[in-house]
Subunit: 176 residues, 2 copies
Amino acid sequence: MKEFPLSKVYQLLEPGPVVLLTTAHKGRANVMTMSWHMMVEFEPPLVACVVSSGGHSFAALDATGECVIAIPARKLAQKVVQVGNSSGRDTDKFEAFGLHPVPAKFVRPPLVGECFANLECKVVDARLVNKYNLFVLEVLAAWKDPAQKNPKTLHHCGYGTFVVDGRTIKLKSNMR
Amino acid sequence: MKEFPLSKVYQLLEPGPVVLLTTAHKGRANVMTMSWHMMVEFEPPLVACVVSSGGHSFAALDATGECVIAIPARKLAQKVVQVGNSSGRDTDKFEAFGLHPVPAKFVRPPLVGECFANLECKVVDARLVNKYNLFVLEVLAAWKDPAQKNPKTLHHCGYGTFVVDGRTIKLKSNMR
């Protein structure tokens, strides 16, 4: 994993890929699947996300204020679904689905070794957690795997249906 | 445009497409390009979005509490960029770029006739507007154009680069 500039983090999340969210709580790491996230600010990069309050990940994120957002490429689709269909309450998902936790630099939750990008995050605003389970995160560090060239990401359309990235088009624009 | 069930609205936004956001203020409609949005709740559908505070759309949304989120297919890419590169302060973007405003049912901002889906929204939580320009919206009504079959959407990766939807994969899953 190579350090990735914080100023470009939005380019990873703005397209709306399915991501994995890791947490660590009471000595155990966990990972969930998440599609409800968006950029909030370019730099320092802020990200908002919604984490279902019933789950193990919510309790960990709420208690520790730390997580990692990991972005899986298309080849991880089956694992993404397996992670989404199980609970950290009774399963060590890293072990069960062959994902490798890699120590992060600033936070306790691990990076996901198989993902092409990993973002270390801390909660900076919890005002909308009670009502909407909505956390505002700051990205403290970002990592990219240089061995994964031009990874295609997954976009969830509901019930295990995903659209995979197709071709890229470039139009003249001054939008950042 | 045919009415679309509110319970399925998340399937339109969860994949993370670039959208257009329309507003109406002081007798004039406007439209901007937006990528920073996410689902917050399934039903009634809640959506969060970030609207840059410098622009004409922010002032309108903040003052009126109403907007329409319109989803363009790939063929509208050039117009999406043109809308993103101009300001409602000095341009009637509907007229300038050949987009047709269509009256909505519950809100003053218009639907965009060329878009395959349109969501009528009202602001339901403005607590994070001051700090992050982040609005929480409720979708009051949703519309889909039955003439546009399997539209491919656009995902913005920064500076006018878009990934177009590629193929669809379906995996067995109990994730909604």
